[in-house]
Amino acid sequence: MLEKALHGRRGYWIWIACLILVAAVGFFFYLRQLDYGLGITGMSRDVSWGLYIAQFTFLVGVAASAVMLVLPYYLHDYKAFGKITVLGEFLAVAAVVMCILFVFVDLGRPARVLNVLLHPQPASILFWDMVVLSGYLLINIVTGWVILSCTKKEIPPPSWVKPIIYLSIPWAISIHTVTAFIYAGLPGRSFWLTAIMAPRFLASAFASGPALLILVCLILRRWGGFDAGEKAIQALAKIVAYALAVSLFFVGVELFTAFYSGIPEHEAQFIYLFAGLHGHSGLVGWMWAFAVLAAGALAALLIPGLRKQEKWLAPACVAVFASLWIEKGLGLVIPGFIPSPLEAMTEYHPTGPEIAITLGVWAVGFLILTAFYKIFTAVRGAASMPAGPTAGGR
């Protein structure tokens, strides 16, 4: 089936060439980072995580895209999603590959990465995050590939794949929970020390992943020769709307707790985020952009008249994706370090090489995604049989 990714029109190859170019530039700067050390980035002793870990955190959310299709289709027999569960699974694969790459480029000693397996530490959440992420990657590669192969051969998928699909549902919950626990379990970082960290991760994941899927469906409908169906797209849009609403509610809950309790160490980071603290306001513009984009997108998605028009739906989904990229990325990671444990205000500004490496990893992710979706549309164009094993319970 892989060979299907090698046949495409001119536009397809220009897009592929652009992605390879961006990835190559990123790789070039990664070699420079290997040589010089992580000092090439904007990270510092006080702000010891930056753009890379922010992308990792956000993309774990995008990987949830699969479960929002698999759950309604396989557990509730929601037939409209039958054609596109594979799209969600492939998006999850690309997102998890990006997550792993972002953790990798963030390591000070990448050559020693296998120490995590050679000296496993069950008390470390990072160890468990590696377990759940690699498991989720494997599950989605297997289920996506098997179902697509069967669609191509016009045979029903084998029965052994169904338990794996069911397993993927709790497994998707686990990747967000475990990633949230990396942050929520640290005693000295009051911005992250909140019991709703995992729920916040889940809520925003169920908005950002499906928002990207809607955009993919709209693109494939216009240029890919594949129509996911208006019913499926509208159902996804409703999922995005409610997940975004819950996500914003959770942010509001955090703000209430911090400011009504009035505990300075809980207030400080939110003041830094939205108003600036002690003359430092590096993220204020970003956070207000998040607030405006998210509120606008929520309005467009909640009003049926707007949601049903592509000219409103597409920008709303872009706004959801962009706003959560801010909120679950830099807006979550950076304020954990500002102010520092010794009350120092050290700001963080990513450097050029750091941005180039980040774009390079995104390009690799989109290369994988493009290849998978090319195969998908080629197979779909050839076969006309409905996808997926027949749904089970209701």
């Binding site: 010089y36 050390g37 992580l38 000092g39 990270m43 510092s44 002793r45 006080d46 010891s48 995580w49 953790v103 963030d106 390591l107 000070g108 000693r109 990448p110 020693r112 990465v113 120490n115 995590v116 050679l118 000296h119 530490q121 008390a123 470390s124 959440i125 990072l126 160890f127 590696m130 990396i182 942050y183 379990g185 640290l186 005693p187 000295g188 970082r189 160490e265 954990g336 370090f337 520092s340 444990p341 010794l342 009350e343 120092a344 050290t346």
Partner: protein, 260 residues
Amino acid sequence: MTTKRRDFLKIAGASALTLLAPSLFGPAWAEDAIVIPPGRASGPTPALSARRWAMAIDASRCKEGCTDCITACHAVHNVPDFSNPKDEVKWIWNEPFSSVFPAEDHPHQGKAIQNLRIPVLCNHCDNPPCVRVCPTGATFSRPDGIVMMDYHRCIGCRLCMAACPYGARSMNFRNPRPFIAKINPDFPTRAKGVVEKCNFCEERLAKGMIPACVLACKEKAIVFGDMEDPRSEIRLLMETRFSLRRRAHLGTAPQIYYIL
């Protein structure tokens, strides 16, 4: 039977140490000049051991502008000087009261307290978050309480830096070797990409020497000893003086005790 014998040996060992300790500590403090003894001791000195190493710092004794403990520590441990806060590596340094004890600070604090420069370092916690989160076991606790780093196992993920509530850890964002003024051949230098911090001078304790910062302090502001030994100097100090620990409410059980 066996348990009783083991207990007896433990008590005997601990008692022997308390008898030995004054003779080891005494002469070192009596020296006037800051001389950090070389790693190769003249005779075979027994290693210093304890059930729980801890440190007390009387910051009110610190002289204005004095950096003797910092200089001594950083020289002995090949700590680089990058001269910029971004790449900075530090094991012990000083901070104002308001930064070290933000919860205890208030606007009407006397000048004497406000102007203090308090030495801060790794707290060698009894319940260290950095050890808990490390995905490779590169950071670990020794039975005597020292929180240690294995520079050859660390993958540089910096989760320990996020976990430490004291900002005690430094990352080698660049190759540190060109930035070490004079390399001490008795202690390893680090490579770029690993995290490091104070090690309570475990390499000196193993050779029977007290930590470099303790030795370097002319004001005798730093006391180092076995917290589990009721006759140790640090325990006697705890009996008589009021002490504070940094962010003790977090449950990390820090083992640096501040007397102000």
